[in-house]
């Protein structure tokens, strides 16, 4: 299987960046969720203040998902670095799974918006868009760019 070396380099770089960001966001989220679970004040205050701009919630399962997506990118990176061009499949699947999860979180956000704003459910009064804005959504934009950029390459990745 022969691939354009320039494009291959782009995918390697993408895997490094995406893998790092997903694992970083996942790790922070994991620490915050542990903090919330065991009520560790120092960790909780970190989440509320210093890292607030990253919109990272204390969501345990979500943190594992982010780390998993990052690991898929890193696995692909490892294969590509070792000269296995099939490693591109990892980049492709990483992008697809990250897009699936971005969609999942956007649907959750849409559901809560409907519940709060359209149905005025008293159980979730005071809900704001920021409450459900998760790292998986904004990191998904990066994956979307990768997908749009290499859509054709992925379709023909076996050739």
């Amino acid at each position: 299987m022969k691939h354009d070396p320039g494009k291959l380099r782009e995918k390697v770089l993408f895997s490094v960046v995406a893998g790092f960001l997903y694992v970083l966001a996942g790790s922070i989220q994991f620490v915050l969720s542990i903090g919330a679970m065991f009520d560790i004040n120092s960790v909780n205050s970190l989440g509320n203040s210093a890292l607030g701009f990253l919109f990272i919630p204390s969501d345990f399962m979500g943190s594992l998902v982010l780390v998993l997506i990052g690991s898929i990118f890193f696995y692909g990176l490892m294969e590509l670095r070792n000269g296995f061009n099939e490693g591109i499949a990892y980049v492709y699947v990483g992008i697809i799974i990250s897009l699936i999860f971005a969609t999942v979180y956007m649907l959750v956000l849409a559901g809560n918006w409907m519940e709060s704003c359209l149905l005025n459910d008293p159980e979730i009064t005071g809900w704001s868009f920021i409450d459900d804005f998760r790292p998986a959504i904004y990191l998904g934009i990066l994956s979307l760019c990768g997908y749009i950029l290499w859509k054709k390459d992925f379709r023909n990745m076996n050739k």
Binding site: L64, L68, I72, A89, E123
Partner: protein, 669 residues
């Protein structure tokens, strides 16, 4: 019949072929049926028939279970073969996957021996051509001595041509088929056995003798049983015992493959197997380290959406039923009738209806995963783990079907060849959480774990799988001792899920719950209302009513699990159908289908806590699914003993684990 009216001629067609080649899709397109089509092998386990009026003919189409050969090792293979042999359809249509002709030809070589009129439907030829294959249809017809029709069932292409060919074949007076030559040694044995078989006129009239002889030399026990009552049975046995049947079986299979590899290159050019995009994606999805985490992550996403995204739709349904309840309270007289309609019927049915959006969303997501081809990979990934614990991965397919409903899941175990594997799978499928249990989890997880409800529900589903797998291990090392049979699963190519198909699957699976709400749940709600209202004069739903007395009678058994009499009696009614558990909660708390009021009542109940909720969810997950599931276990095992064991074992496991959760959890919560 009026004068001049023409008599409609009937044609019976059997659709056969390897698993997952599109038989059911083709069947649905021709007959206009809506049988479940799955992107994994083994979806059709029973034959199904449908009719089509075409050019003055009434064509009965019978969809047979997919089979790789006619060796009849599993129940679905026997169903397929017996139909062709015993029912003698006018025409047999073998659906062949055009992207995988070589493998499909093995079945063709065996079908040819049956002497039936045959047609090959070369399905999904667009995919073959897309990848550059050149199909030589005319040559194929010549070599196989049967018509070959190009079809794309999913796009309704080639159907008229196929039906026209069916009519032409039916009208043919003489049929010239091809046979495989097995070489001098085997052929002389075939002739010898044929000669003996021909002495039995009954056998001669019922079966093609050469086929019978070939099957006997192939060591087919099912055929041996068929001739057991024949006058020539002893003679045949003597011949067979003098031979090394295993060697003959291997030699005959070799011969078939030899023929296939000789003729195949003449039928198709460039049809070699190359690594496809699907294969490359599988490198990731079935990766040793990433495969299971990806599977778990996708399942978690499905449950997260089932809970979070469905909530507004649930609220809408709930408000409609609350409004109906208010109307009935305001306008219906006398008061007891208003209570029956409002609290009993609308409350009971409404409390189940409120969860229909969740059920539909879960089914929609599962059918998207199935249609994409991913669930077949899930079975493959899990096989590694399952084989280690004594079950084969094929058992996981019925388990996945069990997420919808345990009844078809138990029926789907027919595709498992090994009897021990099959029995073990039947025993553990009830632990897989079906859609009917979802309302219980949504109610209790939503009430007591609102922030993490999706994750709690996911964990409950996961627990079901773990208990099923653990129980399988236990059974395979005790009552059903033995090694699991090796599992060969053909992974279908990935496909972008079709929205219409997914919606149809969602409806097919979910509509059952709407029907149940209008029948069993409605009846159950009336019974529960009566028990909660009688004897007259006592407070509705109080401890003095019949339901209260019943609850108190079974409470001692359930108290160690943290359940009061209301929870105990609700679980008791859950034996009929699991949705009734939630319906009876609404009735017992006197809030009907008002979920917010029910949530508030549950939170205010001093007997209930997060631990009770967890314990209740665990018990609901594991104890007997419903009456219908028990019925199907009896039917599929053919044994009251195993059926009773399944119910008792489920109850025992449910009780023990709920007890462990309730008391063990006290250390953490």
């Amino acid at each position: 019949m009026c004068a001049g009216e023409m008599k409609i001629e009937k044609i019976r067609v059997a659709l056969t072929g390897n698993p997952n080649v599109g038989k059911t899709t083709l069947f649905n397109v021709i007959t206009g049926s809506r049988q479940h089509v799955g992107n994994w092998p083994g979806v059709t386990v029973e034959k199904k028939s449908g009719f089509k009026q075409y050019k003055g003919y009434e064509i009965e189409v019978v969809d047979l279970p997919g089979t790789y050969s006619l060796t009849a090792y599993s129940l679905d293979e026997i169903v397929a073969r017996d139909f062709i042999v015993d029912e003698r359809p006018d025409v047999v249509v073998q659906i062949v996957d055009a992207t995988n002709i070589e493998r499909n030809l093995y079945l063709t070589t065996q079908l040819m021996e049956l002497g039936s009129k045959m047609i090959i439907a070369l399905n999904m030829y667009d995919l073959a051509e897309e990848r550059g294959d050149k199909l030589h249809v005319t040559k194929m017809e010549k070599i196989l001595s049967m018509p070959v029709v190009l079809t794309i069932a999913s796009k309704n292409i080639g159907m008229s041509e196929l039906l026209d060919t069916v009519i032409t074949e039916k009208q043919k007076v003489k049929h010239h088929g091809r046979e495989i030559g097995y070489g001098d040694e085997i052929e002389s044995r075939i002739i010898e056995i044929e000669k003996v078989l021909s002495q039995d006129k009954d056998l001669t009239s019922r079966y093609p003798l050469r086929w019978l002889a070939v099957r006997l030399l192939d060591g087919d026990e099912n055929i041996l049983r068929k001739i057991a009552g024949s006058s020539v049975a002893t003679q045949i046995k003597t011949i067979l015992t003098s031979l090394d049947i295993e060697e003959y079986e291997a030699m005959m299979a070799d011969k078939r493959y030899e023929v296939i590899s000789a003729v195949f290159p003449q039928m198709c050019e460039r049809c070699m197997t190359r690594m496809t995009t699907s294969d490359m994606v599988d490198r990731v999805m079935t990766n040793k380290y990433l495969g299971i985490p990806i599977f778990l992550a996708l399942m978690w996403a499905a449950f997260e959406l089932t809970f979070s995204f469905a909530t507004p739709f649930m609220t809408i349904v709930e408000r409609i039923f609350v409004w109906l309840g208010e109307i009935s309270a305001a306008y219906i007289r006398p008061e007891w009738l208003a209570s029956l309609v409002g609290e009993g019927i609308i409350g009971g049915v409404g409390s189940v209806f409120s969860f229909i959006p969740n059920i539909f969303i879960l089914f929609f997501l599962l059918s998207m995963l199935e249609d994409s081809g991913y669930l077949a990979r899930a079975a493959f990934i899990v096989d590694r783990v399952m084989y280690k614990i004594g079950l084969q991965g094929k058992s996981f397919i019925p388990m996945l079907l069990g997420f919808g409903c345990n009844v078809p899941a138990i029926m789907a175990t027919r595709s498992i060849e090994d009897r021990m594997d099959r029995m073990a799978t039947i025993m553990v499928v009830p632990f897989i959480s079906c859609g009917a249990r979802l309302p219980i989890y949504i109610l209790f997880a939503g009430t007591f774990f609102s922030e993490n409800a999706g994750t709690v529900i996911f964990c409950i589903y996961l627990l079901g799988i773990l208990v099923a797998v653990g129980s399988a291990k236990l059974l395979r090392t005790t009552a059903l001792k033995g090694h699991p049979a090796p599992f060969i699963l053909e992974l279908p190519p990935y496909r972008i899920p079709n929205l219409n198909t997914s919606i149809r699957h969602m409806w097919d699976n979910g509509s059952m719950y709407i029907q149940k709400a209008g029948t069993i749940i409605l009846g159950g709600s009336v019974v529960i209302w009566l028990l909660a209202a009688l004897p007259w004069g006592v407070e509705y739903g109080s401890e003095q009513t019949f339901i209260g007395l019943l609850g108190h009678a079974i409470q001692p058994l359930m108290e160690p699990l943290g359940f009061d009499w209301k929870l105990s009696v609700s679980l008791l009614f859950g034996f009929v159908a699991k949705e009734i558990v939630v319906a009876s909660m609404g009735v017992l708390y006197g809030v009907g289908d008002d979920q917010i009021a029910l949530t508030d009542s549950l939170l205010a109940d001093p007997h209930l806590s997060q631990l009770t909720a967890l314990s209740l969810m665990v018990f609901s997950l594991l104890y007997m699914p419903c009456i219908a599931a028990v019925g199907i276990i009896k039917k599929e095992t053919g044994s009251w003993k195993w059926t009773a064991f399944s119910v008792a074992y489920g109850l025992a496991v449910a009780w023990l684990l709920a007890f462990a959760v309730f008391h063990g959890g006290k250390m953490f919560i």
